[in-house]
């Protein structure tokens, strides 16, 4: 019989490295977010305990309020548009006989493999608002809409959030579409056939068969999409606008990062705590609201 000691040594050897790295680079930093938020830590301050003072300042900080509003707006709008479009496209591509189905799948996934920095570069050419000396526009989007619209300064205070939403949806849609195609193709075709015989149209089939049967998958992805969008919003804003103009496009994480650059570490971490709590609360809420009895066929 194998010795228990050998088994235990093998287990420890296998698990220890992963556990150590995970604790040092994920658990301890996470604890530090909550610990440092209660101090005045900074590049030139010792970091003494100041209770909830950072949070009081934070909720009176106009720039943070704007950043949170932008975050909520981006999460809600990007999630709704991305999920609606991804589900519909996935439904079409799996249910219908489409020529070039493979081609579409390959193309729609491309934005997901590009670095956000590359996407920011592509969109800065698209949103370019400059004009030639004779007044003709320069950017890709403005040259296209000039037939029926005046040039738009896409990244000014009024339009910047919409411009970021467009870029984020452009990036995310293919990934979720391909994922739902995988789960939708597992739904058995005989269900659609019998529904078709009963006279159910395409739209009824989509809402009565497709969506209920992949609901578990939708719920899981939705929960993670919210956390991911809070993060992606930061990546896009940082690369496209750095939060400008005048903080109009700041989001929660870019605010947090900006405070770190301003050497206010404790204050920055207070924003981090709010982001943590906000994202968990939102995920829990979505998880609760979308709870349905699981259908199995």
């Amino acid at each position: 019989m194998r010795s228990n000691k050998g088994r235990n040594r093998f287990l420890a050897l296998c698990i220890a490295p992963a556990t150590i790295l995970f604790f040092v680079f994920m658990i301890i930093p996470t604890i530090n977010v909550f610990r440092m938020a209660l101090t005045d830590a900074g590049a030139f301050t010792a970091g003494k305990f100041i209770g909830l003072a950072n949070f009081v300042t934070l909720f009176n900080d106009k720039r943070f309020i704007i950043a949170m509003q932008n975050t909520i707006l981006l999460v809600v709008v990007v999630t709704i548009i991305t999920f609606a479009l991804a589900l519909v496209f996935a439904g079409i591509l799996t249910r219908e006989k489409i020529k070039g189905q493979n081609f579409f799948r390959i193309v729609f996934y491309i934005p997901n493999i590009l670095s956000v920095v590359v996407i920011a570069g592509v969109f800065s050419a698209i949103y370019d608002a400059r004009q030639l000396p004779d007044g003709t526009p320069f950017g890709l989007l403005n040259t296209m809409i000039r037939l029926f619209h005046d040039p738009v300064t896409w990244l000014d205070e009024r339009h910047v959030i919409v411009s970021i939403i467009i870029a984020m949806v452009w990036q995310a849609i293919g990934y979720y579409m391909v994922m739902y195609m995988a789960s939708m193709s597992a739904v058995s075709a005989s269900l659609y056939e019998s529904a078709g015989l009963d006279g159910a149209g395409r739209i009824t089939q989509f809402f009565q068969i497709t969506l209920p049967l992949i609901w578990t998958n939708i719920r899981t992805t939705l929960t993670f999409f919210i956390i991911s969008t809070i993060n992606m919003a930061f990546l896009f804003v940082k690369a496209m606008t750095s939060g400008g103009p005048n903080g109009a496009s700041d989001v929660a994480l870019s605010f947090m990062y900006g405070q770190k650059d301003a050497n206010l570490y404790g204050y920055s971490m207070a924003a981090g705590v709010v982001i943590f709590i906000f994202s968990f609360a939102l995920s829990a809420l979505v998880n609760k609201v979308t709870k349905r009895d699981v259908l199995e066929v």
Binding site: R7, F10, I15, A18, S115, V117, V122, L132, L140
Partner: protein
Amino acid sequence: MSKDNAGAVQSQSGRSTETLYKVFIYVVLITLAITIIVPVGWVFLASIKQNSEFYTNPWALPLGFYWQNFVEAWTTAKMGSYMLNSVIVTAVALLILLAVALPAAYCLSRFQFRGGKLLNICFMAGLFINVNYIVVPIFLMLNGGDKWLRQAFGSSLLLNNLFVLAVVYASTALPFTIYLLSGYFATLPHDFEEAAYIDGAGYGRTMVSVIFPMAKPSIITIILFNFLSFWNEYIISMTLMSGLNSQKTLPVGLLSLQQASQSAAQYGRLYAGLVLVMLPTLILYMCVQKQLTQGMTVGGLKG
């Protein structure tokens, strides 16, 4: 009108709405495909344009192949050495990740031991911690470590170190990777190990030469996903590599190239830089798009 005729008319109108629906679908699909292909393709064309061509219609085709853009991006803008940095960081991070995550996932999913359940829960909880939520404390921790090292030994080595960056990448990818691999390992029947034990193989040998080869498809999937996320990552790299200009990874180098070219109005060089960053991922994608889009069912939790 006879009954037969009525049926024919009805099915004809049914067929024409059917055609209309099909046309509508194709229009929508093609429109979406165009919004992706055209901007990406435009960058490729712009990368071979001379600077003067950027002051006319942006939709004009390039007048010729102006390769000088790539030469300048590669040497003057140092994208060549940034690419080497990116290759090193990505390769080292992937090696560390595989070496650490594979055994851990195997043991966590197939052995019962004290504390095992708790560890599994911890790694699951890690799925909810986004790296960028904790990038500031990671930076401060390494910064503090460096301060201590400077006092004790006179030199620092944690920040501005490509190897440390790779370790951070690997560590923060652990929860997702272990989750994915455990899911696969848990589906294997225990007969494989029992047969190997009877043949006299030890725990380690059984794991390496019986179990890991079977997990090859899952291993390829995690390599692909993590390659893309390490290669494209820029926030952590920007934060932990802020000191030395020569240590930048490709996306961070591209970010500064973007700022420099906008103010100096050197567009050709900028788009050549964009092509240099996305070409490796596009080539890889073309080779493995099947595995990538099929590994998706399990990859639903990507951050």
